[in-house]
Symmetry: C2
Subunit: 265 residues, 2 copies
């Protein structure tokens, strides 16, 4: 223990731990890694060899892109607690990867130029639906819809209904519905069921068909909304999706979905 050499200057320590001098000063100020000693006269920082472990850990965790605040918590936490902290960050990173993958899919489609959606304005007839509703935060919509659809189909088993399945969603997706988004699975039917029913009257709608995975639906909506707003029209809810070819019927790349948006002048 006593044979460990003396403290060293910030430059030396920085080279040792593959950090920049600027970083070390920043970590000092942030309380993340205080030098072993600071000369009160000159302000020079001196680091002890024993601090190399923490410095290297910081470098490692920064490489994984953890925020300094988290690294501070990790270093301060007793050994058994670190796993939990790191697991939370792990989940955060996994989420980001998932989001990035969705972005990549969008970007792929955009870059390859297969992003053209033909928009048509037409009159949608009145329809009567049996529906199952749920509330979910955006991002879990697919999951919530799946549960609703399963329940819907189970209840309608043996009843007569006209495919395809539909989905109804509020128009203002990410805005006011901070703590839950209404998800509605719907099946057009005239049969009388125990389920809630919704009557959509005939409407002046703008519509397009999207082929491909649902992660790329935003592209179709982009085209749809651009088309609507360019003409000075106003969309009125709800958003209607008809799953012409839905999951389970084909591969994600072959899904076919009709989007409808009622418009007013």
């Amino acid at each position: 223990m006593g044979t460990v050499p003396d403290e060293m200057t910030i430059g030396r320590f920085a080279r040792l731990c593959r950090l920049s001098v600027k970083q070390l000063r920043h970590y000092d100020e942030a309380g993340l890694l205080r030098p072993a000693r600071v000369d009160p006269a000159t302000g020079y920082r001196y680091y002890a060899p024993a601090q190399a472990r923490d410095a290297l850990t910081i470098a490692l965790l920064r490489e994984i892109d953890l925020p300094l605040a988290v690294i501070t918590a990790v270093l301060a936490a007793p050994e058994p607690d670190r796993g939990r902290l790191l697991s939370a960050e792990r989940d955060r990173l996994a989420d980001r990867i998932d989001r990035d993958r969705a972005r990549l899919a969008l970007l792929d489609r955009l870059a390859s130029g297969h992003a053209d959606h033909e928009v048509i304005r037409t009159t949608e007839p009145a329809r009567r639906f049996a529906v199952v509703r749920a509330t979910a935060d955006p991002g879990r919509i697919g999951l919530a819809y799946g549960e609703c659809a399963a329940q819907l189909l189970a209840t309608l088993a043996g009843q007569s209904w006209k495919p395809p399945l539909w989905g109804l969603y509020p128009l203002d997706l990410p805005d006011d519905v901070a703590d839950g988004l209404l998800v509605t699975a719907a099946a057009e039917t005239d049969a009388i069921t125990t389920l809630e029913t919704v009557e959509l009257p005939a409407a002046d709608v703008v519509t397009t068909v999207h082929d491909g995975p649902y992660a790329e639906l935003r592209l179709a909506y982009h085209t749809l909304f651009a088309w609507i707003h360019e003409r000075g029209l106003t969309p009125v809810g709800p958003v209607r999706e008809a799953y012409l070819i839905g999951p389970g019927e084909a591969e994600p790349t072959d899904l076919l979905t009709r989007l409808m948006l009622e418009v007013r002048a």
Copy 2:
């Protein structure tokens, strides 16, 4: 064309395109999306419905996390050029996902607590290697090593050599070697070959064994360097890796690698 309603205020336009007023002002200042008209007396911005398409495109591309500079270029580029711009961004994003996956693997291992490496200080005997070298930038190390190893094995076919394969790397990985990192595949042998040979003298080394994929090697190095620096020792190059169980011999999760670092007091 003439039936499109008038221009609208920034707040209305913002709600329409799901952007914030702040964002729109920022995009104006950045030259990304200028209002159709700015009242010279009051400074009020007024947007035309026809601008909704660009605004929605900006919102879409921002969602994919493209920098504003890129979005500017995309909007300014003629249609046929957009694909190329977007493809470049696509590749950037794909790279990021790859890096994030490596980070996730590290974080997984850290969080699950299976990150303990036993460090031992020992004397490594002198060894004579037949080697093949290459230069690669960090990130392509694995690729470069693979080629070197293939060449090495092809040349040594029929010759006598003692498994496992080794790898030698400069100690200062990411520092001064900005434009290329020396990668050396090595096989211990006494046979005389047409290959370059390297004689490593006996050395005082610190060593540990890592099991698992190579993406997690940094963890082992972290422990190794922490161990060394805590004791005030100085590592001297090159870094030696012995691939006890290498790729091709087992699944990535079952790889076994011995790391060695010569130290000096």
